[in-house]
Amino acid sequence: MSMITGAPGRAIGTPLDRIDGPQKVTGEAPYAYEHHVESPLYLYPLQSDIARGRITHIDASAAEALPGVVIVITHENAPRLADTSDKEYAVLQSEEVAFRGQFIGAVVAETFETARHAAHLVEISYDEEPHDAVLRADRDDLYVPEQVNAGFPTDTEEGDFEVAYASAAVKLDETYTTPMEHNNPMEPHTTVAVWREGDLTLYESTQGAHPVRRTVAQVFGLDQKRVNVVAPYVGGGFGSKGLPHANTILAALAAQMIEGRPIKFALTRQQMFSCVGYRTPTIQRIRLGADEEGHLTAISHDAIVQTAKIKEFAEQAAVATRMMYATESRRTTHRVAALDVAVPSWMRAPGEAPGMFALESAMDEMAIACGLDPIEFRIRNEPEIDAETGLPYSSRNLVACLREGARRFGWESRDSTPRARREGRWLVGSGVASSTYPVFRLPGSRARVRYEGEGRYAVEIGAADIGTGTWTTLTQIAADALGVGVGEIGLRIGDTTLPQASVEGGSTGITMWGSTIFEAARVFRERHGQNPSEGDEVEAGTPENPETENYAMHAFGAYFAEARVDADTAEVRIPRMTGVFAVGRIINAKTARSQFIGGMTMGLSMALHEESVVDPRFGHVVNHDFAEYHIPTNADVGEIEVSWIEEEDPHVNPMGSKGIGEIGIVGSSAAVANAVYHATGVRVRDLPITPDKLLPL
């Protein structure tokens, strides 16, 4: 059973067992598809077989004739949506096809199997046009976006990069690439849509119930009060459930056409490779210049990414380079190719994850070029203030992470010569990389606190738990905010009937929802004191944090990896990784450790395995299942040691915490790549590091 005990005021920091653990392991916690609804229908989508063109004819007669088929929906009979300004959500609104795998219709039937069978009986003719689905650096149509994801400026310039780089004593100019990757949470994207008497209820697998409500209400022209989104338990997201995608709109369209009957729509694993977001491939040129002592004088990071022609998503791959190290001059740019492809979106640490692979690989190469230990080289270029804002850091303990990690990993005894250590057939090496993630803030959360008598408090906020442990951590935060034990807190999250909450994205969940709960608790005690009456209630919004004007706020970390590479076959094994983090106060040591281990495993996966292979002839991902799109198995993950620095940061928020959901994937891939280089003497700059890229050894 979960441990719901502890003295008042001391819940934050304890490794509380997951409050929802028993429900999850006994199957009582309902995921989107599992909410009980009366006599549901099942939706199976029709997807385009071409990457660009228009539909000229649809013959659904055989599908419609199949017993059990209720309706075949296409652009010819789908209701018009109220707002089609966002083309990703303009589902079944025209005959145009913008990418392969786009939803062009749906079959709704009494069973899933009937719907799927009928979907294959629908005949579709197209007028196909030539498509273009391949990102290359030498394209002549790269454009400058107005801004990049998360609202960062597209380009930045400090000092005179060209002059400083030209005169630098040591120089590096290399290009690093990362492939298209797909988020692949275990629970597929799912919607159960019920349209009844003008009210729409969505049981949704999402990272934000309220943001889904806002989008759906706008697209369908509904009052937000008429849309209810329910998402108490979510089986992972990694960003792909952060913004709603076309699948949610398609399910709601079907529900609108068949009022009263619930529509169930869960994507298959293969369908998740075509329409619910992905990480753009990146091509990143990095130039570094340093003086003889290894002080950086010039840093430039030029990132090229792709987006869909129908919607812009410009991944901010070069932003971490703007603040990571001290330099006299710096330039960062982002260029985008708009292609006939599905819309890219958030995937765990969009921007930082691919960007820090490039920067931290380049830092390793530059340390070697300067004749310095890579840790010493980083410490030598540690900035005093945040270069981007000119503000001091609220806390920056990167150096402490590097030093503590070096101690735990056993870095001192390392011979820096590459390919110097061999154990039997294995070439053995080690690598290091830094990590960072910003403390983002998202506005608009509200929390409600109500005294329910007998010492118990209801705490309500529409927050999301996508498997990270929010049910548990917000309970701990609420307990400390109210000065009671965790057993006195009755938390409710994951539903738009609760006060609105911001999306679980940008590692902001605990920062925003926790701050809001703290504020609600403060106001509650102010109004109702320590001995409230049953039914006393307060609702409060997220307080401003004036300290954001005074401090730059980022989390930091350092990774160490050991690589073993088979000298004959170039198979790579990573027997151990060490991660040390400086992320403010840890709310729950157990769930935090899981986030770090998960993030580092995903970094390992990014380094060695993940790659969505697009067939340029057809524009689709060919390895669209887990047999061929590899993520590590248990046998691929060795020892992962995680620890953190005790970091007091009074400025970030009332808990003193920084977001930890994404930092684990930032830079961990570079630590692996740097270790592989140290083991073999072969530098692979194009992820993933597959054996064929290492040969000849």
Binding site: T569, H630, P632, P691, L695
Partner: protein, 289 residues
Amino acid sequence: MEFLQPATWREALEAKSAHHEAVPIFGGTDVMVEMNFDRRRPGYVLDLTRVPEIQVWERENGKFRVGAGVTYTRIITDLKNELPALAMASRTVGSPQIRNRGTVGGNLGTSSPAGDALPPLYASDAEVELASVEGIRRVPVGEFVTGPKRNVLRREELIWGFIIPEAEGPQQYAKIGTRNAMVIAVCSFGLALHPARRKVGTCIGSAAPTPVRAKEAEEFIEGVLAEGDLWETRGAISEAALRRFGEMVEMSARPISDVRGTAEYRRRAVGVLARRTLSWAWAEYRDGR
């Protein structure tokens, strides 16, 4: 879709005779994937999981007659000493759950060049036993598989199982994948020493349209062993001979490039696996095992 569920082997053969298009299923680790991906939609599925006769193995004149319904897990637990290469290959298949369901019979039916169980069958000159209501026939495994996912099984036939000699010497199987478990082979290699016959059996997996024996390499190393009287003396195979053996295996491969690996990598890697498996097996032989 009709679901046929015979209770005996005779009923299964009759069902297949009556419905040639029926797709036999046992573990379903290939068939269900094909159906779920809608690559095939058979009119009949012939469930063999209730047929007891194919879920047994027996000794028959120094050979093992193994039913098509014997799972990888049972091969690993029951036959690890008698059929070591096949047991090693079985350990590399999928996950424990898949090994509990999947069968060598299914691997034969699918006839993929990447089928993990196939190289050990080739290296030990196994035969496939095919049956119909008319009778049975035995086909050498190398003649059974004719191309990628193609074989000589007739439409009225079912695979009863396979016949494989008990190991009379050390055997090895090695596989390269792009991760450590649940992985389709980038390439693989099976090797069996047959000291009584003074023969070496080999087979390359996943680097040609079918599993292929490296005949020239086999003859080469058999020559080396005979010339040096190494079978009798249990002396070491020279580094040069091991290397040449690997090179000759590379020459027998006809790999393609795909998402799992490049042709160049596959060719090189099967050479490495050949060298390794031979040196491991020969070291065992020298130790008197």
